[in-house]
């Protein structure tokens, strides 16, 4: 009976492989990273050298990891949470799952880029931008304000990514800046303009490059990363920064916090301090095309428009954690 022999052989091979991973690693410090391994893996290896102990990193989606940390409760092995957005950190803070950070970490960044209660600190920033297709849209015709994108000329020609966390944070920003009714009114006219839905910002960039849509609401770095990968000649799309404190120019952050009840409070704080230190900040500027949050660091690889020239809306990033109401509003206006 050959199938039985094959099955037995397969079981034997698998059993032989089992010990390869069965030995549980017990590192000194465990980091849950909602930031992508391809983007920050190199940086976290450097972090291990700097904190003076072995570091274990578990990658996942920021929201999934936040949910996992909430379910794990006190039993968690995690010491540090490195999140793609402030909202996930805010949710943990609300559940009292974060410890206060050291002044050394908090004072490394401007007050706008840390939690009011000192529970988390921003590690890098990203700007909302409009990608546009210069073959369809001359630079002079680009929308200068939030209300300009609901102009009928963009009907069916503007892309957005409803499930993307940055889109949802942007909508929260609109709510915070214009109030519930103002945000509802804008979302209604945006929905009436038949925007095109995409799964993520990369698809939006692809669609602008392909000329399928004229405008795309996105984060700035997707364009810079694509240019670094294939060259500026191969990327038809261009980036439009909306300034003047308009919600379209919202600046959002990735950040980090120390998990409450960590067995390694000192090492965990050193890890967060490293993420806002010059070395890590230079990494974000060069490798991920993000904005450093520490003053005096500029990218040596990407021609980023300087952060201090962006004129984002004046907003408390902790307020961006109120996503629940944004989601309700998005559902109400059919944009979720």
């Amino acid at each position: 009976m050959p199938s039985r022999r094959i099955a037995l052989a397969a079981v034997a091979v698998i059993a032989a492989l089992a010990p390869l991973t069965a030995c549980g690693s017990s590192a000194d410090l465990t980091i849950y990273s909602g930031r992508n391994e391809q983007l920050v893996g190199g940086l976290l290896e450097k972090l291990e050298e700097r904190v003076g102990g072995s570091v274990e990193v578990r990658y996942g989606g920021s929201a999934e990891l936040a949910a996992q940390l909430l379910e794990e409760g006190d039993g968690t092995d995690a010491d540090v949470f490195f999140s793609q957005d402030a909202g996930a950190l805010g949710a943990l803070d609300d559940a009292q799952r974060l410890e206060p950070l050291s002044p050394a970490a908090l004072d490394a960044v401007p007050a706008a880029y840390r939690a009011d209660d000192g529970s988390w600190v921003a590690t890098s920033a990203r700007s909302r931008v409009l990608f546009y297709d210069p073959r369809q849209v001359p630079a002079a015709d680009l929308p200068a304000t939030l209300d300009a994108v609901t102009d009928p000329r963009w009907r069916g020609r503007i892309g957005y990514a409803p499930t993307n966390a940055s889109w949802q944070a942007f909508v929260t920003g609109v709510r915070v800046l214009r109030g519930e009714d103002g945000a509802r009114a804008w979302l209604r006219s945006f929905a009436a303009n038949q925007p095109v839905r995409f799964e993520n910002n990369i698809q939006i960039l692809d669609a602008v490059n392909a000329g399928q849509i004229a405008l795309g609401l996105s984060n700035h770095y997707y364009w810079y990363e694509r240019v670094a990968e294939v060259g500026e000649q191969a990327v038809p799309a261009r980036v439009h920064y909306v300034s003047g404190g308009d919600p379209l120019g919202l600046v959002n952050v990735a950040g980090a916090g120390v998990i409450a009840g960590t067995a390694q409070p000192e090492m965990a704080r050193r890890a967060v301090e490293f993420l806002v230190a010059p070395e890590a900040q230079q990494y974000f500027a060069d490798e991920t095309a993000e904005y450093p949050v520490r003053a005096g660091v500029t990218s040596s690889r990407h021609a980023l428009k300087p952060l201090d020239q962006l004129q984002p809306p004046d907003i408390d990033l902790s307020d961006l954690a109120s996503l629940q109401q944004s989601l309700a509003l998005l559902q109400e206006t059919g944009l979720a």
């Binding site: 397969a10 549980g24 992508n36 936040a66 990363e225 996503l323």
Partner: protein
């Protein structure tokens, strides 16, 4: 030595011992059923912590009804399409003179190895206009029809051609024989396969999110992502479980009532139908399915692999991920099959409320999205078994909870196909109950059980959300690496992982096809 035939199980319907199941078997089956219910307990805890008022409020939202309608529409239409496509292809491949039947059979089983998120990505990248229901329907049909094709083909191969000959001799035309005799006899097999397809479609996240077709599962994900509030997600999860229970119960009824008792002569291979003038059309159909289900993803992946400057292939990473995948998928398949054995044997050999309850329990969680199952196991695992939390054993248990129905169905069909009379003879000759099962029934059922294990293997290989939450740190499977690279927008670097994933998952697809045609 034949693979699992569906209808033959009805042979035993009048016979077996009504003495009730042995205690040990029942206990083992109940234990498995209880394990499968762990996510349900978690969902109940999370859903009710905000109070029954909140539960009612969430269920009464217009959006909930809208999501339910969309999920039902997608699930119903994909299941119907898979049944038509799967049964039609199975008939073409086993009962006709279609040229190259063996090759086509191997090729048409392969889409099982293509993860829905890979298929979805390639289709949406090539034809963005497909977004919405058409794309979700197309992609899910193309990756799920083998769930129907494989067991129905096996059932058709194993069934006796005599009955059809009788029908023909009594004056029925070939078309009517096909509809009234042949297809009717594979009905229980097709119903069981249809249930798996329906539950899979309800739970799928990859294809619907890429196609931006908002279903229940996508609603659950959006809820986690946007609000960090686990209660609405849990309430929606409970609704999915209820839906799954209803479907499982309906399938149970459909299967139980299917008739067609046949005599126990020596089965004769049926005479292949001549396609004649329909041959080009038949060839065109199988070729079209193969191109859509395999060709499109293949072309897309090869093009991505060749494009872009990030395409330097990381052979070490690729090899490590392949080994990790083989290991977790292999061990996961073994554990899942072992746990499924008592439930499958019980369902094949005994009737009664307990049996129905245990079988339904094994299926109940199958419509839940992986992230819900993952959080449930996080919640329970870290409290009850902290020593193995984020270690291999708990990850494997997670796979078992997720994919139990695949193995239960295979074990049930395979054991049911082994005549219970032979076991009774062995017992009358002094063999103990366990020994009789192990020496008489098990050898005959083994190929079918192995086929179920192969199905679990390839499904585990494609799994992502539970793997991310529960894997031992550093166990980067192909699916994890694929997620990681596409998340960074490095599609060229991601493509080789997708290719190897399809190849790894294709191995059991081929074995499954072999088992079906032995």
């Amino acid at each position: 030595m034949t693979a699992p035939p569906g209808p033959v199980r009805t042979q035993q319907a009048p016979s077996p011992a009504r003495r009730g199941a042995p205690r040990a078997l029942l206990a083992a089956a109940v234990a498995t059923g209880a394990l499968a219910c762990v996510p349900l307990v978690y969902l109940a805890v999370r859903a009710l912590e905000a109070g029954p008022g909140t539960v009612v409020e969430i269920l009464a939202r217009p959006r909930t009804a809208e999501l339910l309608a969309r999920s039902a529409l997608l699930g119903g239409s994909v299941t119907a399409a898979c049944l038509v496509l799967g049964c039609g292809l199975a008939w073409l491949l086993t009962r006709t003179d279609l040229p190259g039947r063996r090759v086509w059979a191997a090729v048409l089983a392969l889409p099982l190895a293509v993860p829905s998120y890979v298929a979805g990505f390639t289709w949406i990248a090539e034809w963005p206009g497909l977004a919405g229901f058409p794309g979700a329907f197309l992609v899910l049909t193309l990756v799920s029809y083998p769930y129907v094709l494989l067991p129905v083909a096996a059932a058709l191969l194993a069934s006796d051609g005599g009955l059809e000959e009788v029908a023909r001799s009594l004056g029925r035309g070939p078309g009517r024989v096909l509809l009234t005799v042949t297809l009717r006899r594979v009905r229980p097999t097709a119903a069981a396969a249809g249930l798996l397809v329906a539950l899979y479609v309800l739970s799928d996240f990859g294809a619907v999110s890429l196609m931006r077709y908002e279903t229940f599962t996508l609603g659950i994900f959006t809820s986690y992502r946007a609000t960090f509030d686990r209660t609405p997600a849990a309430v929606l999860g409970c609704a999915l479980v209820a839906l799954a229970a209803v479907l499982t119960w309906a399938e149970h009824r459909a299967r139980g009532r299917a008739g067609g008792w046949i005599g126990r002569g020596t089965p004769r291979p049926p005479v292949p139908a001549r396609l004649g003038g329909f041959r080009p059309l038949a060839l065109l159909t199988v070729a079209a399915v193969a191109v859509a289900a395999l060709g499109v993803p293949a072309v897309s992946l090869v093009r991505w692999t060749l494009a872009g400057t990030s395409a330097g292939i990381d052979w070490a990473g690729l090899g490590g991920a392949a080994v990790a995948t083989l290991q977790v998928a292999g061990l996961g398949a073994v554990l899942t099959t072992v746990l499924a054995m008592p439930v499958g044997v019980l369902a094949a050999r005994y009737r009664g409320r307990t049996v129905t309850a245990v079988e339904t329990a094994a299926y109940a969680g199958h419509a839940l999205p992986g992230v819900t199952i993952g959080l449930a196991l996080v919640f329970v695992g870290i409290r009850l078994v902290p020593a193995v939390y984020q270690e291999l054993p708990l990850l494997l248990v997670g796979y078992a909870v997720l994919f139990l129905p695949l193995a239960v169905g295979a074990v049930r069909t395979a054991v049911a196909a082994a005549p219970v009379g032979h076991e009774e003879v062995a017992r009358s000759l002094g063999c103990g109950r366990t020994a009789a099962f192990a020496r008489v029934t098990l050898p005959r059922a083994l190929p079918g059980i192995a086929a179920g294990a192969a199905l679990v293997f390839l499904t585990v290989a494609k799994e992502l959300p539970v793997t991310l939450m529960l894997r031992p740190t550093g166990t980067d499977t192909l699916a994890v690496q694929l997620w990681s690279h596409t998340g960074a927008g490095a599609f060229a670097a991601a493509a080789p992982y997708a290719v190897v994933l399809v190849v790894v998952a294709a191995v059991p697809s081929v074995l499954l096809d072999r088992a079906a045609h032995r």
